[in-house]
Amino acid sequence: MSAVLSLADVHKSFGPTAIIRGVTLNVPTGERHAIIGPNGAGKSTLFHLISGRFPVSSGTVSLHGRPITGLKPYEIYRRGLSRSFQVTNIFPRLSVYENIRCAVLWALGYKYAFWLGVDALRSVRERAEAVMTSIGLTRRRDVQAGVLTYAEQRALEIGLAIAGGADVILLDEPTAGMSRGESEQAVQLIRTVTQGKTLIMVEHDMSVVFGLADRISVLVYGQIIASDTPRAIRENAAVREAYLGQAVH
């Protein structure tokens, strides 16, 4: 099977409140998949379930054909799935370079090494510098992440997600709160850095979604009501009624 990530009848409840009510989804290798839906539909929760931040109530999540349900976030990461966050989630008092460097260490096999000088590890330096170049923050190398501009922090957020070279990338509203110009730049950035990878993103900005995605799933009230190409989604009556009616002009 070519689905790199699949969800089978995934449910999530917080107490009596059902947030995700039976989601089944297959994302093939290399696809750029967008998840859209109205506020409170459970999009971010779905990401938290896939990435291991929350445990699922029932159902199975599989990565590369192996179940990852119940694994810790770092175990899922080590199997090749990395994510960004909707609310910027970086290391605020570390420099941009330190942020990125921390995110490449595990992938390059240095793990918990307390006997190797990190500054002298050429592979780490080169990978970190390459990531900084690709997210356009080379000039801001030694600036504390906490004092970057909002758009720069969003770029760093994506940088942390891609630095380790994971082949499945989850981006949670990468352009949230950006101006039109910033968001166009972000789309360009996402397109470049996810080349050859599988991308699943939650996004509110329809121009971003229709510009980037190969396929779109529409999540409404914890269920996927449609999963199809952008063109088909645009024309889907149920989707228009549930969601796009107000968003597309």
Partner: protein
Amino acid sequence: MSEGAILSWRSWAPWVALALALVLLPRLLSSGSSLTMMSLMGIMIIFALSYNMLLGQTGMLSFGHAVYYGLAGFVAIHAMNAIAQNKWAIPLPVIPLIGGLAGLAFGILFGSVSTRRGGTVFAMITLGVGELVASSSLILRSFFGGESGITANRTKLMPLFGYKFGPQIEIYYLIAGWAFIAILAMYAITRTPFGRMCNAVRENPERAEFIGYSTQTVRFIAFCLAGFFAGIAGALAAINFEIMNALSLGAAQSGTVLLMAFIGGIGLFWGPILGAILVTFLQVTLSDLTGAWMLYFGLLFILVVMFAPGGIAGWLALHGPALRSGRLGRLLPAYALAAVPLAMAAAGAILIVELAHHMLVKASSDGSLVHVFFTTLDGASPWPWLAALALLGVGAALTRLAWGPVRSAWAAVHAASAPVDGPAEAAVVPPAAQGVLPT
């Protein structure tokens, strides 16, 4: 720089300076009391730095770090006695390694429980473990020796190159040697992949999990390594004093190491070194000068927490950029101006503390005459009290006034050193200045 080397040749310069200082200090300060004090400082530097591997580097607030110091000290005492009794060919300088391994073993044992969670849960468990060990030390008399403790004779071990480690100067060099190794090793660890991830876990444990790291494992390794170095310090204390008792692993000792690290500054590697030196110096000298020395300690801690949360090292490091750009001179007049009322306020506070201490503790047996600041005051008369209050009040008010010039001097220094490039460059905040920027 070879692949994987921790320190480059250029960064060796401060270490050569440190080694020279450690070797030459006894020539400058050769009296018996200064040797004793420097020996104690060396032990406390290792202990405080090991504590900062947790608090400063990894963001783990421990209330029970003396457990590893004290338990390793007891293991070292018993090891010394066993070696002397069985005439094993193990010289004294190896004992700190045994202590370190004991600290590591206890770190693994207690750390496997306490590091499962971070934050408040971790702090509470360390408090519990500390109390557990402290109370069991009074029950297990054969190992802890009850209230009198356990003694050893360090000179009974096999001599090394003819040295029997009886005189304090030989103990000083033993401590200095181990302190050098431990400081270097702990610094090197901050420059490793693990050391950087400790900082990442401190900053944002959640995100660390999403870049592949188990925060629990990072905390556990940091805890074990901190236990190892605390164990070296504990064994050196056992060698230095030739006695260990339950006090050395109790809450007071755990509190002292927290004070040292925090007063020195937990945001910089060398902060706890300053803190250990200063606090040890105050402990030894103040306790000779006044019975109220613990109170001064508490006041110092409160002042640092309120006005210099980066500690002394953080405050000093603020001046780095001004020093490098040659603008430090602009600050000095304002500092000198502020120092006068500050000294007034301090004198007033000291007078009040000394008068109160004397009247509450000693007056019933010694009468109401108080010797303070080279004069004698009558604590039963209201005038010394009023004078002290006036000094404190006027000093504090004038210090507030003098703060204006200090602030504008800083503003001038900042304005002068702001680069042409503007805010983009000005936003570069050196890690040294974290949380200690003047407002």
